[in-house]
Amino acid sequence: MAGFILRRLLLLIPILLGVSILMFVIIRMAPGDPAVAYLKLSNIPPTPGAVAEARQTLGLDQPILAQYVSWISSAVRGDFGVSYVTRRPVLDDILYYLPATLQLAGLALLFTLVVSVPLGIWSARYKDRWPDHLVRGFAFLGVSTPNFWLGFLLVLLFSLTLKWLPPMGKGGWQHMILPVLAVSFMSLAINARLLRASMLETASARHVLYARLRGLSDRQVERSHILRNALLPIVTATGMHVGELLGGTLVIESVFGWPGIGRYAVSAIYSRDFPVIQCFTLFLVTIFVICNLVVDIVYAWLDPRIRLNAEAAI
């Protein structure tokens, strides 16, 4: 298992290098000169002389390979340059805003898992009866609802009408309930539906039939023979949900005035603050890739077939 984890960790390096190269190439190929963006944000008119000077300060006059090497070697040491707007080191800003976002996304992931699993089990247990219809209807609603709009509906109901919860801002646990609900609704729905389908499929497997023939009770069969196998697709799906939840959080932050990295990134996008956009993307991709690595490890831990195959293949 340790070998498996180590190999998967090493595989992260080429992926992240690839991501950083791709980002770099796209930035340099895109229309719009970073030097002009830099001058605009410094309130300097972009005359040819000023542009040339800015290109030199920003190192844009170097060959692209040299630029990349210099950027990545600073980045590895934690230096992502200075924001064109705030003039502060980008890393400091990112680390300032990121925890609030991760808090929201992490709670949303926890909520998704804790609620979707019982819903999926309930739905499968009462297949084609009213609990199943209820869960499936709920799941269908979930995959179709715009999360930012749901956020406003929740504010309208729970903050403005019932006055139970604060409509926006960050503070105690009361502030987190509505954003977490809005962000996780879709993943929750997908997960519940997936678990239902997976349980029904496993229920028709031969080992389940055998367990029933041995005279085990329905609940015993469900717990030890269906659920364990049926949970594997949920583990895989969790990797995707991390991406969805992170992305959803970035949007939802604007609804609830949540002081996270999403609002910071959107303002950087408006002002075309390239170092910030670059660093923000790299951080979120890294978090996403690491979460998927954890998912793979959990999967291999739960399912020895994967682990042993992977070890045999390498």
């Binding site: 930012f148 509906l153 959107v266 991709v285």
Partner: protein, 292 residues
């Protein structure tokens, strides 16, 4: 056995006869999609007012005979803006899909046909795209390209095409050894002819399944990015922009935020029902295994 009779087994016409399961939900979904298409195409004929006509004397009116859904904070007719909004939503998603399919056929096809090193390189390239969460890649690309609807379309297309390219590559590889392809080759058909006669219809059928499943999701992305102010620029009527416009009146005029959201919800639902139905019929193997 002649080549022609072998060819009859080729999945040639599957594209144009999408078998859709006929239930009441699917029928309602089809009606909604047709209505949306009519609203988008015939917006100037259907909409009662100019969607951008500002009339400050009529601002924030409730529903009335003159304005069925009321007016917004600038006195613009809400219903007309909703109808024009279908243009942006459907149009941008349609463009996304065309772009994704073109990219996927070129990239995935090259990978599958050329094989070897090219294949390896292209697949690693796709892996890099798949390492991004969709919204993060879209935000990055909009940050670099600048805000605006065209860039949103490019961003959404680039953040989805890798899944499609991988699928095209897989199909190309699996078709190479199929009997009817080998027979065509033996009969002297050129590579290009084989591609358009045999591969292209099968690839399109699969891509339409994937795309129908993705339409709803892409509409949500377009609206979300516009809501953040990164997509269409005001005063253009678009559902995400309308939700953002209405947010400051959420307490006094909650209906203003309800309408565009409901329009979005209904459209996404309709496309999701159609997507599920098409998938169930055409491709049972995709069941429950969709990446989004």
């Amino acid at each position: 056995m002649s080549v022609a009779s072998l060819d009859e087994h080729a999945p040639r016409r599957t594209v144009w006869r999408l078998p859709i399961r006929d239930t009441w939900a699917v029928r309602i979904a089809l009606v909604i999609v047709v209505l949306l298409a009519i609203a988008a195409i015939a917006a100037p004929l259907v909409a009662p007012y100019d969607p951008n006509a500002v009339d400050l004397t009529q601002r924030l009116q409730g529903p009335s005979l003159a304005h069925w859904l009321g007016t917004d904070h600038l006195g613009r007719d809400e219903l007309s803006r909703l109808i024009y909004g279908t243009r942006v939503s459907l149009g941008s998603v349609a463009l996304c899909i065309v772009l994704i399919m073109t990219l996927a056929i070129v990239v995935g096809g090259a990978s599958g046909y050329l094989g070897g090193r090219v294949d390896q390189a292209v697949m690693r390239f796709c892996d890099i795209f798949l390492a991004f969460p969709t919204i993060v890649l879209a935000l990055f690309l909009i940050g670099i390209l600048g805000t605006g609807m065209v860039n949103v379309v490019i961003a959404i297309a680039l953040s989805h095409f890798a899944w499609y390219a991988r699928m095209v590559r897989g199909l190309v590889l699996s078709f190479r050894q199929r009997d009817f392809v080998l027979a065509s080759r033996a009969a002297g058909a050129s590579r290009i002819r084989i591609f358009f006669e045999h591969l292209f219809p099968a690839i399109m059928a699969q891509m339409i399944v994937l795309a129908t499943l993705d339409i709803g999701h892409m509409m949500l992305h377009v609206a979300g990015l516009s809501f953040l102010g990164l997509g269409v620029q005001p005063p253009t009527a678009e559902w995400g922009v309308m939700i953002n416009d209405a947010r400051q009146f959420v307490w006094s005029k909650p209906m203003l935020i309800l309408w565009p959201g409901l329009a979005l919800l209904l459209s996404v639902m309709a496309f999701n029902i159609l997507g599920d139905s098409v998938r169930d019929r055409l491709d049972p193997s995709l069941h429950g295994d969709h990446p989004h």
